[in-house]
């Protein structure tokens, strides 16, 4: 398969265009970055201060043990940082021309991919709360969907007001398309049976158990048997 034909995200339909793609704002990772940096540096500052005052005086074996322990500690902090970075960097929000995809990476070996059609969107809220989000324009977007489809919460999204407006616009476009008869395809990831969405679904009518009121029922004055 050529690189160009490779889908942009898992489950992307043929002809489905990615309209918007974003990650969490880099500042949302700042706390974890500073914490990892602090964890890496603090023990060495303490060690230097103690050594300078001559509180501890290590023999060559003690020095070697200290080197090995320091090395293991630094590698541990580095690994911790990488896991935190993956958790931050692989959380992705994708909006295509007919659906929303929320990819949540929970550290390693835990990944959650949820999606909903744009025509199912009922309500979109954008919330900017706090000093840094206000100054650097990032916040949370809540997308409420109809029926049993799950709701979405996208945290630390840059320019949340613009993005929420875009979701509403795309939702409107999707509805207009549906009115014209161009149905938005159903999400592929959670689909269990193949359905031809271009054909209108006509279920066979069971004459005996049909609960609708017929003209004859109305004339009889009784109504249908429910």
């Amino acid at each position: 398969m050529r690189e160009q034909e490779k889908p942009f995200f898992p489950g992307q339909e043929k002809g489905e265009k990615v309209v918007f793609f974003t990650r969490r704002h880099p500042l949302s990772f700042l706390g974890m970055f500073l914490f990892a940096f602090f964890m890496a540096v603090l023990p060495f500052i303490i060690f230097v201060l103690i050594s300078a005052r001559g509180i501890i005086d290590l023999d060559p074996t003690g020095q070697k043990i200290m080197i090995v322990l320091s090395s293991a500690y630094l590698l541990f902090v580095l690994g911790f940082f990488l896991a935190a970075w993956i958790d931050y960097y692989l959380d992705i929000m994708i909006i295509t021309d007919f659906r929303i995809v929320d990819i949540m990476q929970n550290v390693l070996f835990s990944r959650d991919v949820a999606e909903a059609n744009l025509d199912r969107v009922e309500d979109v809220n954008a919330e900017v709360k706090g000093f840094l989000p206000t100054v650097f324009h990032y916040g949370t977007i809540f997308v409420q969907t109809a029926g049993t489809a799950r709701n979405f919460e996208f945290k630390s999204i840059p320019n949340p007001y613009d993005v929420s407006k875009m979701i509403v616009d795309l939702h409107q476009k999707c509805l207009i398309k549906e009115e014209k008869g161009e149905l938005c395809p159903e999400p592929k990831l959670k689909k269990t049976a193949s359905v031809d969405f271009k054909k209108p679904i006509k279920e066979p009518i069971d004459e005996k158990n049909n609960n609708s009121i017929s003209h004859d029922d109305l004339e009889k004055g009784g109504g249908a048997e429910f």
């Binding site: 942009f8 070697k64 043990i65 080197i67 090995v68 590698l75 580095l78 690994g79 993956i86 960097y89």
Partner: protein
């Protein structure tokens, strides 16, 4: 001292397995042109510097 070096090598094996798992995530779920490749290179370089530096210092002392 032998046991400490052995313990360190055992730690390095665990660290290597963890790093490979993390790299797998970066390769599998990263996107073309994103920062996963750069992060993998930087992470590998820092790890190598720490490990090589540790053995170098152990030989010197």
């Amino acid at each position: 001292m032998f046991w400490i070096i052995l313990g360190y090598i055992a730690f390095l094996v665990v660290f290597l397995i963890f790093s490979l798992a993390a790299f797998y995530h970066c390769r599998e779920y990263g996107y073309a042109g994103d920062a996963t490749k750069s992060m993998m290179i930087i992470y590998s370089l820092i790890s190598l510097v720490i490990i090589v530096g540790t053995f170098y210092m152990l030989i010197i002392f």
